[in-house]
């Protein structure tokens, strides 16, 4: 059981009236042939889809906040905006401190490079310097537990090994704000335990965590505070139990149709 409390501290993430519009394309003229075809068929083949319709919230240092909502509600879009992947269409976003995004583990691994080579490449992609990576290599290796596989190309890894390496690199960066998108279920039970231990350690050291999860018991357990988004609108922002209950209500409300968005492709 966790309770909602406002922890005094610096602002880490601040959204003010953030709008994210995607151009949903039905048939975008991707090629010359299609472009020609479109010259003759003069109708717009897109409509604008608002994944976020003016979302405002502030997350302070040391908070662990979950974002819940149905598929296509805009959860991942929020994370990607915090990570800097998307530049929002309108509104103001302020983020302070280094952001570490576990949006997809092992994004940027090259299949032909070995685990060791990928640690360096991935670390650089995530914003570390080569020296910082080298000084943390041993910890990453210890955490990922890949044994002799570390010097084989990652295309030969099992999916669990791949995820373990990705998790090890991404969390070893030790960012001020850690973003996690549905990545709590990594590897086997033993490894999952190590992962949650690492996340607990983060929280204890006063780091900020923003996570997206459908696993409501984890959310209740980990988070002080939950944001509920629905169709791009922030419906509720409050203590975990209260918001999760509201979300469950929403989930079981059959009268409500939710449009699914391709925002998190």
């Amino acid at each position: 059981m966790s309770s909602y409390e406002r922890i005094a501290g610096a602002e880490r993430v601040c959204f003010r009236d953030v709008v994210q519009r995607f151009r949903l394309i039905h048939e975008r003229p991707d090629t010359l042939r299609e472009a020609f075809a479109h010259l003759f068929r003069k109708r717009t083949s897109y409509h604008d889809f608002e994944a976020l319709k003016g979302v405002s919230f502030t997350i302070h240092e040391g908070e662990t906040v979950a974002i819940v909502g149905r598929n296509g509600s805009g959860k991942s879009t929020i994370l990607k905006i915090i990570a800097g992947v998307y530049r929002p269409t309108a509104g103001e976003v302020r983020v302070s401190g280094q952001v570490g995004a576990l949006i997809e583990l092992g994004a940027g691994f090259h299949p032909d490079l070995t685990g060791r080579e990928n640690i360096v490449l991935n670390g650089l992609l995530l914003g570390l310097s080569k020296r910082e990576i080298q000084s943390r290599e041993q910890q990453i290796l210890d955490f990922a537990e890949l044994g002799e596989f570390i010097d084989s190309p990652v295309k030969q890894y099992s999916s669990g090994m791949y995820m373990r390496l990705g998790f090890a690199v991404a969390t070893e960066i030790d960012p001020d704000v850690l973003l996690m998108d549905e990545i709590l279920a990594v590897g086997d039970a033993a490894f999952q335990q190590k992962c949650s231990a690492r996340i607990d350690d983060y929280r204890q050291r006063g780091k900020t965590i923003v996570l997206v999860s459908h696993d409501l018991s984890t959310v209740r357990q980990l988070c002080h505070r939950v944001l509920l988004v629905h169709n791009g609108v922030l419906l509720e922002d409050g203590p975990a139990n209260q918001v999760v209950a509201r979300y469950e209500e929403l989930l079981h409300n059959p009268g409500d149709t939710v449009m699914s968005a391709p925002a998190s492709s």
């Binding site: 995607f22 998307y86 949006i103 994004a107 940027g108 032909d112 080579e117």
Partner: protein
Amino acid sequence: MGQLIREILKNRELIWALALKELQVRYKRSALGFLWALLNPLLMMVILTMVFSTVMRVPVHDYPIFLISTLLPWTFFSQSLAYSVESIVSNGDLLKKVYVAKSVFPLAAIVSNLINFLLSMVPLVLLLVVFRFPFYRTWFYLVIPFASLFLFTLGCGFFFAMVNVFFRDMAHILQIVLQAWFYFCPIIYSLDFVPARYRPLFRLNPLAYPLNGFRLAIYYGQLPSLASMAMSLLVGIVALAVGYRLFQRSQDSLVFYV
């Protein structure tokens, strides 16, 4: 431009690592590995020499050297573009998940070809030794055509990488354009062969200036006119300024289209 320099400095380790990865992946599991970087231009030179010197009898002494002095820089240019045009699109999945300065991908593509280009200077030197061809002092001057070519390539690389995101035909169009451009450049011939009345047309080719600089320094042992040097540098700087500006202007929307 200041922005570009800052991005390069900030991401230099990443750019270098990506460039090395590119080479590593390109040569991995091939028996000759890095030797291909040396063999490729030599074999190309042998083919073109057979066609143009032996069969068509282009009246040039030491044709292989005449040819390779511009063939190597051309290969750098065309390969760099072929790699950079795909660089953003092929890293699209990554761009959607991690924030990275977009410019690192075209830059890495070009740096990896730059390494190849520098390696390919080894067979050039060997060739000069084998042909007992003199090393002119004008080699020192190569810095200028080299810098011009590099800047021009960067500018084009940024431009094509960006356009290809919005318009995927670009990669295919570029292939044809590069083929035509090859014949339009003074590589297998020199501008003196071109009938005088067409020469102004050939001078419109921005690549002609740096390529000619390479040939003058290596093959003729001469320096180009100051005007020609200035022109080649200017072309490079303008290309980079324009190419990067266009790239920068759309870099925030690239992620929505990859």
